[in-house]
């Protein structure tokens, strides 16, 4: 049981740490696109990890295996890139990248940002 507790605790703290890191990225980074990385990756992974921790925890509560928390991770991993993609799209639509970073060569000939 101690092992389980340890595993759960480890994953919880690690996950929470990742989640916090995501928010720190959101807080610290200087432009929108850089801010995007923390939440999309760290937070998703962190919360996904915490869900796994929860699965482990409930699997050892005496009510049989509980894996449904895995679904949280699964769905997070499916949806998080979509959100990120869309927010980036919105930001690009608002020309937020034009001052911050140079356009890649492939985009230059296109008119405007909505390549």
């Amino acid at each position: 049981m101690v092992v389980v507790e340890f595993v759960v605790s480890f994953f919880l703290i690690l996950g929470a740490f990742f989640a916090l890191t995501g928010s720190i990225g959101l807080y610290r980074m200087t432009d929108f696109f850089s801010r995007l990385h923390g939440p999309t990756k760290s937070t998703t992974l962190g919360v996904g990890g915490m869900a796994l921790a929860s699965a482990v925890y409930f699997s050892f509560q005496g009510n049989g295996i509980s894996l449904h928390e895995v679904l949280i991770t699964l769905f997070l991993f499916i949806t998080a890139p979509v959100s990120a993609h869309f927010m980036a799209k919105a930001a690009r639509h608002q020309r937020m990248h034009e001052n911050k970073a140079a356009l890649p060569p492939g985009c230059e000939k296109k008119t405007g940002p909505h390549v």
């Binding site: 340890f6 703290i13 769905f75 919105a90």
Partner: protein, 89 residues
């Protein structure tokens, strides 16, 4: 041990939420705020999970799953509002 771990996790997530809130309020752009809100949603999942472990109940699993499944819809809708105006066209 687990109790302490949960408390630490709570503290970390709460701090994360505060940082999210900061970004939500300061922006400066709308995508920034949407991003902050989106992150708050995801961190809310963490809170549901922690509450579940803390109280040793599965009652909040559905809420967590619900956000994971559907939370992105509002982000998508808001982003589409910004890029297309017309969300449902």
């Amino acid at each position: 041990m687990l109790t302490i771990a949960v408390i630490i996790a709570f503290a970390l997530i709460t701090m994360a939420q505060v940082l999210n809130l900061h970004r939500l309020f300061t922006g400066p752009s709308l995508p920034d705020r949407i991003l902050a809100l989106d992150n708050m949603y995801i961190d809310a999942i963490a809170l549901f999970i922690l509450v579940g472990i803390h109280f040793s109940t599965t009652a909040y699993f559905e809420a967590a799953l619900m956000i994971a499944v559907m939370g992105f819809i509002s982000t998508v809708a808001t982003s589409k509002y910004l890029t297309r105006g017309d969300i449902l066209e």
